[in-house]
Symmetry: C2
């Protein structure tokens, strides 16, 4: 059956997933576009596929395995889309609640507001081989469409925990994983740390940085040296530099927690 | 005199600076906001200051030295602003045409389209102590307001040349500065290069990367290893990781060209 009416009950439910409140209530979110939908399918996260009439011609019946497909008119596709020119394919995904982590490299994110930044940081954490990302209170919603787009599928690649950063710092410390804050004031150069060792790195809000109460809990607070005249770095860029520096190029002989 | 009419000749001229065509014709551009205006003043780039009635109360007559100030009504400020809530201060700046460079570390940018990316890359080049940035054809306008905002004043901190990248590659090679392209296909890990030596690094377009014809001119093409499951990194983040890796922490005993 082709859904054509914006008043259709399913369309109403899907539209709710475009807001944080709707996503929280339904415990579900919407991904859009070929690449993200494929990543979601691979991860087994998809409950329902939604495809426009026009886009349907691109696929065969067997493209998506056993996942149910709902066909919609192109105008309904425009309603659901967060992009200027939609690829006409969406997936309703169930949130995956990660609560435990294991590994030797972690990224903790404190109150990052910009969805592009948060998504890019998750993508970078994935690329640098981080074992899990912990997102504290006050960050933009992890399932915001712009966060999903910037992360380019990394939501499906590594555990992402939403929790209390202060408690997680204590947890990592109890497991002998040193926790490093980032701070332009009162910190030490990242070069005072040797690469290739276990770490949990905290990065923070675009304006104020990492909250002072968290910086007091850490083993050390570090900064990236500025060799030129700029005052600071963009938080996504800084996160990439720090994660790649701390990882280093050698394989790590570390402990698993 | 307070300018209140959108039809005022000056307002018409300023509005033209909001488009690339207008900036090219006038050889001037507009910066907005306290921080950028201060940076432009420090650099001696400002020809005229434009301040709204409301914002004028924040400053004293002597805040800006001898630069002429034009007061405008708040609604005119809204017309000139590219932000949601303007700080009500603008400066008309004359383009600074850099053609020569000197130093041992260079960043070449090939056809980067997103203004946030280009601005962030200039800011990062500044932070990492790059001696000059060379921007090739096909990139977003260097003086686009979003590029200026993302660069946070770095336009005024280091030479930025607009030119033919192929010619610049030949120039650096003739000066014995090795040129490295970036390429996910057919390249070598960045870790095959030792940090702390002179370099000219080419980074490229968000979709296609560095143009193949440029990659054929280089000494070596490199990539950032992906340790996780993501396919690639955001180009601004990748630029930051590469520039900080190649610089290294030690002072460089290099040659000046």
């Amino acid at each position: 059956m082709l859904i054509q009416s914006p008043k259709n009950e399913k369309v109403k439910q899907w539209k709710k997933l475009l807001t944080k409140k709707g996503r929280d209530q339904a415990n579900r979110y919407l991904v859009e576009g070929d690449h993200l939908v494929q990543e979601a399918l691979l991860a087994g996260a998809v409950e329902e596929l939604i495809i426009t009439e026009t886009s349907m011609t691109k696929y065969t019946e067997t493209s998506f395995g056993s996942v149910g497909i709902q066909m919609i008119s192109d105008p309904i596709g425009k309603i659901l889309s967060e992009t200027e020119t939609t690829q006409g394919i969406f997936a309703v995904c169930k949130k995956k609640i990660d609560t435990k982590v294991s590994g030797i490299r972690f990224l903790l994110i404190d109150a990052v507001q910009d969805p592009g930044n948060l998504g890019t940081m998750i993508r970078t954490a994935d690329a640098s081989g981080i074992d899990a990302v912990i997102i504290g209170k006050g960050s933009v919603d992890l399932y915001n469409p712009k966060v999903l787009r910037a992360a380019q599928g990394s939501h499906f690649h590594l555990p992402i925990v939403q929790g209390d950063l202060s408690e997680w710092i204590s947890h990592f410390q109890s497991e002998s994983i040193p926790v490093y804050g980032t701070s332009l004031q009162g910190g030490e150069s990242m070069y005072t740390l040797d690469p290739g060792k276990p770490f949990a790195l905290i990065v923070g809000n675009e304006g104020r940085g990492v909250h002072p109460s968290l910086l007091q809990q850490t083993a050390k607070n570090i900064f990236i040296p500025i060799f030129g005249k700029s005052e600071s770095l963009n938080v996504s860029v800084a996160t990439g530099i720090l994660l790649y520096y701390l990882r280093g190029n050698d394989s790590v002989v570390g402990k698993e927690i």
